[in-house]
């Protein structure tokens, strides 16, 4: 790919990213403005407030302006990273940024657990395909995919926190608190990763150059490492990147189960407190992260895959 091609690719991805972000803000704006009734009455305990105070709140959140003006304001604010204030008066961006490190930590460990469990399972079932190993591992991965995180999380708490007492059941109080929530996420991811690994290795095993390497009498481990695994890595890294983006965006259910102070539990607390500016800010931040990571994964995909490198994307 020429230098110009690279620049065009990045530019195109950036424009797509920007347009998707604007559209996502629009969707959130529509959802947030479909609150049944008066949003101020929804957000605040209004029985103790005077009429003037309610009007002041309405002006503060811009609900007294015409709808198109509110939309343009929302768009302008979020695009300039002005996330506004929560109903309790805190800066939404500050609240998010204090929670972000926890979500990042959870995402990294979750991804690691997924790779540590899923990759070997996928590799073994591909090289032993159509054997008893393969079938039992297939059942195992199907089980991992089928278990909802809100059940596996509770089971892990019962086994490892309550009965064995190895890890704390909830909150981020000690360094090993991250083990159980990240394992919950990792188990769910490992099933998916194992399947992608298996099928991408099997695809490559059928190619001529692998058969030739066998015919040349190369030792098995050399073929497995040099010829097969290296080429199977592209779909695997893509999947990992996309999953990492989803994990970074926060995982409300797992974070709630383990009382993990990340963005996911922040959005849940905001929903319970009916703090609409905070809910809106959190969700837009999550979407921003998510599509940013996906665009980066997309770009890296073109660099990793030599077949696509040759093509210019227009």
């Amino acid at each position: 790919m020429s230098m110009l091609g690279k620049i065009l690719l990045v530019l195109k991805k950036f424009i797509t990213f920007f347009l998707t972000f604007v559209a996502a803000i629009t969707v959130i704006f529509i959802i947030m403005h479909s609150i049944p009734g008066d949003p101020i009455l929804y957000m605040f305990e209004t029985t103790t407030l005077t009429k003037e105070q309610i009007e002041a709140l309405r002006a503060l959140y811009g609900f007294n302006k015409p709808l198109y003006q509110q939309y343009l304001d929302t768009l302008y604010n979020f695009l300039s990273f002005n996330f506004g204030r929560s109903t309790r008066g805190f800066s939404v961006l500050d609240l998010i940024l204090t929670r972000l490190p926890y979500t990042v930590e959870l995402a990294i460990f979750g991804l690691l657990w997924g790779i540590v469990i899923g990759l070997p399972v996928g590799i073994i079932s591909a090289f032993k395909q159509e054997t008893l190993y393969d079938y039992s591992l297939y059942t195992l991965t199907l089980l991992f995919i089928s278990v909802p995180v809100f059940w596996s999380g509770l089971l892990l708490i019962i086994i490892f926190a309550i009965n064995l007492g190895w890890f704390p059941p909830s909150h981020a109080t000690s360094p090993n608190s991250v083990i159980l929530p990240s394992l919950t996420l990792g188990l769910a991811f490992s099933g998916e990763l194992a399947r992608v690994t298996r099928s991408s290795i099997i695809d490559i095993l059928e190619l001529d150059y692998v058969k030739l390497a066998h015919a040349k009498g190369l030792p098995f481990h050399q073929i497995a490492l040099k010829h097969v695994l290296r080429n199977a890595l592209i779909p695997i890294t893509t999947l990992c990147g996309m999953r990492f983006g989803a994990l970074l965006a926060g995982v409300p259910i797992v974070e709630t189960i383990f009382a993990w102070p990340g963005i996911g539990s922040l959005v849940y607390e905001a929903i319970l407190a009916r703090d609409i500016p905070l809910v809106q800010g959190c969700i837009i931040f999550m979407v921003f992260w998510f599509i940013l990571i996906n665009s980066l994964v997309d770009i890296s995909y073109y660099y990793l895959n030599p077949k696509l490198k040759a093509k210019v994307l227009f």
Partner: protein, 280 residues
């Protein structure tokens, strides 16, 4: 009609995994639909003398914090969970079929518009969109169903649109067009019959994930309200008694797991039948 059904059943039973899935599913449906009806199970009966009793012959799944029988609550709650998964996946499917076919057949600006809507909805991480909808419209089951349907629909739109485009560019459709077939004729005669297998497989695969999403929202307390039994809501009750009563959390989750597993087995088998080149 009957012969098509017979043929379909034969295909399903030929694949080991889909046969296992189908049998598991029928067993589960029988348990959920028949047992509560014949044995007069009461999921609401409170008994303060039997609070948090472990599984025994009298209460085979134990009792919860109000002395209610968990076996009764799991079985009666099951129908609600299954219906939730079924309704949201079906709504998403209908949306997907309508928009996918319109986009694929009309092409041009309409296609571009539908495609962008699907892409934008897909840019929301998994459950966040459903969560936002439920948060704003208020916690109850119908809002959960609406939220889950909207968050699942873009996948249907995208896949069905792709399938329609493939069919539209095939030679027999080009031929039919050249002979002057109208759009409605093309849709009824070629597009619907040829996309039906894809739609059915997609539907089977997304019933369990819709069920999980709906249960997850119920688990967070944003869906059905107590004392209504539903698998996710039962787990929400159970989460406060983990240290003393594991059975309150174990059995509802086990049933979700078996249900999802049976659908996934069936869907996996169907996928392999329709695309023999596909490896798992």
């Amino acid at each position: 009609m009957l012969s098509t059904l017979k043929k379909g059943l034969k295909i399903i039973l030929k694949q080991k995994s889909s046969a296992v899935g189908l049998i598991l599913m029928l067993f589960l449906f029988a348990l959920i639909l028949v047992v509560p009806f014949f044995f007069h199970l009461d999921p609401y009966k409170i008994d303060y003398d039997e609070i948090l009793e472990p599984p025994s012959f009298k209460h085979i799944f134990g009792t919860d914090h109000l002395g209610r029988d968990i076996f009764a609550r799991v079985l009666c709650g099951g129908s609600l969970s299954l219906i939730a998964g079924f309704i949201s996946a079906s709504t998403a499917m209908v949306l997907g079929v309508l928009l996918g076919i319109i986009a694929g057949v009309a092409g041009g600006v309409i296609d571009e518009l539908v495609r962008s809507i699907a892409n934008v909805l897909l840019s929301f991480p998994s459950i966040i969109l459903a969560l936002a909808i439920v948060a704003v419209l208020g916690p109850n089951l119908s809002n959960v169903l609406l939220g889950v349907s909207i968050s699942v629909s873009p996948i249907f739109i995208r896949v069905i649109r792709g399938a329609v485009l493939t069919i539209m560019s095939s030679e027999y459709v080009l031929g039919a067009k050249a002979l002057g077939s109208s759009r409605s004729h093309l849709i009824i005669k070629y597009i619907i019959p040829n996309t039906a297998p894809t739609i059915i497989v997609l539907w089977t695969l997304y019933i369990p994930s819709a069920l999980i999403s709906a249960s997850a929202l119920n688990f967070l307390g944003l869906g059905v309200q107590p004392p209504t039994p539903e698998w996710g809501a039962l787990l929400n009750d159970a989460k406060n008694y983990l240290s003393t009563a594991w059975w309150t959390a174990f059995f509802p989750g086990l049933f979700i797991c078996i249900t999802v597993l049976s659908f996934n087995l069936l869907g996996d088998g169907l996928k392999r039948i329709l695309d023999p080149r596909l490896k798992i």
